[in-house]
């Protein structure tokens, strides 16, 4: 039995978001990571160094492996960010700032300490 059925889920009406340009079905309350898993997608990031694919690892916001671009904002943790109707989700290449891919621009305009 799939987990939605098993937990007797009666979600609100489904809506559409896009992932790399193609429409994907989403349910209210789902995070970006859950929407992508449900659509059979497990990677949505290419690493800065080797361009290797990554997706969810820790599932609780600690590892930062699931970084994704949502509505042009890069470096969002897919396992934490809830989806909204019409969200434009995209594979994050490197730092997510095309052309700004150099040391010190790790987080681009979204500079963070921590």
């Amino acid at each position: 039995m799939n987990p939605l059925e098993r937990a007797g889920a009666r979600p609100g009406p489904a809506f559409t978001v896009t992932f790399d340009g193609r429409p994907v079905r989403a349910l209210p309350g789902q995070t970006v990571a859950a929407v992508l898993w449900a659509a059979g997608v497990t990677s949505w990031r290419a690493t800065r160094g080797e361009g290797r694919p990554r997706g969810v690892f820790c599932g609780i916001g600690v590892c930062f492996d699931c970084l994704v671009t949502v509505n042009d904002r890069p470096n969002q943790r897919a396992c934490l960010v809830p989806v909204r109707p019409g969200d434009v989700i995209g594979t994050q290449e490197g730092t997510g700032h095309a052309g700004a891919d150099h040391e010190g621009a790790d987080d681009g305009g979204d500079s963070r300490a921590g």
Binding site: G29, T31, W37, T47, E50, F57, C63, P82, A113, G114
Partner: protein
Amino acid sequence: MRGQTTRERTTGETVVQAELVVIGAGPAGLAASLAASARGARVVLIDAATETGGQFYRQPAAGLGAGRPEALHHQWRTWERLRDGLAASAVRVLTDHHVWCVERASGGFTVHALLGPEQEQPAETHARAVLLATGGYEHVLPFPGWTLPGVVTAGGAQAMLKGQLVVPGHRAVVAGTGPLLLPVATGLAAAGVEVAALVESTGPGRLARHARALTGKLPEGAGHAARLLRHRVPVLTRHTVVRAHGDTRLTGVTVAALDTAGRVRPGTERQVPCDTLAVGHGMLPHTDLAEGLGCGLDGLAVAVDAEQRTDVPGVWAAGESTGIGGAALALAEGHIAGCSAAAHLRGTVPGPAPAAFKARTKLRSSAAALDAAYAPPAHWPEQVTDDTVVCRCEEVTAGAVRDALDLGAGDERTVKLLTRAGMGWCQGRMCQTAVAGLTGCPPAPSRRSFARPVPLGVLARHHTQEELS
């Protein structure tokens, strides 16, 4: 909402006042908040998640309208008691608050948080006392292929299942070591995933040797074992995953038997096709906020006394942040800590339920036994090839770490400076123990300045306000 005030500063920052602020709404923080509130303390309970419950009682997102969430949980009755108790109490709950720092302020403490999923809007809570119930995160040691999509932490698979009602694939292997692997395997199987194997590196003999201390855990373990049988999940003890295969996504794993010394037995390797590997080697405590406050540590956990007080006056800690021991221990410690904090605020004597002390003593000794029984295989570094990525954020390989050792680095810190291992987004949370293991020294506390990433604008504003006040 007795006596709490909320006001907006001109900066748009929310400010909340309380007597006791509890950080973390898992079993420990819930028990602590209820105990303190029942004894007259004005409590604010803060958590980064959108729902209370922590890791063990992680709730499905409200929008999913789960009618039977208990179908994917254990000990639901205890959760109901905590949930209903919280609803009937005067505890003020602030969810979606990501705390990045707690600082001492005149007459108490200031808790700095960032609100919501985007984590940009700041919020402050002022309180006379602080109780840290921040739990822990999963420990995974590296092996070839562990960065492939489809490889997730065992707890992460569980968190996505309980909170989001999703699974990453159709056929899973659950592997590593520790008591968490059992509920994860049964949880995935119940959610329709074919669990091809549960691979536990500890041998059955080692578990049996600790059987007496583990008796408290056995009924639960037996329940899981029966469920594994029912779902026909093969259990391989004294085995380990030596490699995950795939190019852009996991396609299978190689498992091998271990000898009694924890070395892979040559010739025992075999491949198991799967699209999901849920892997874990135990848990590590979250100690950043405690370290920021200057609290002493005991090994890698926050050090506490018999009343769960840290060595910083006014700061208590409970649950996995003070040592890994499971949800029942977190409940007992939380209760004791909450009673002690309320007594301190009211000038009375703590008086927690005597059963809490008994439970804490018993569960701490079984936690110590579990820890000894479920240690990762002693020779795990031998399986880490030079091209295996160790630091996932900075893509530092085991080869680079070994080169740093050849250059004379003798500890984690020097390896970090030479290779950048541990300097990335996760600040070493995922690779710290692995780097320590490869250098041959015990992991040391990491002293991170912030518990969460903070936009520089928030820090700058914080700094200006400090200068003005």
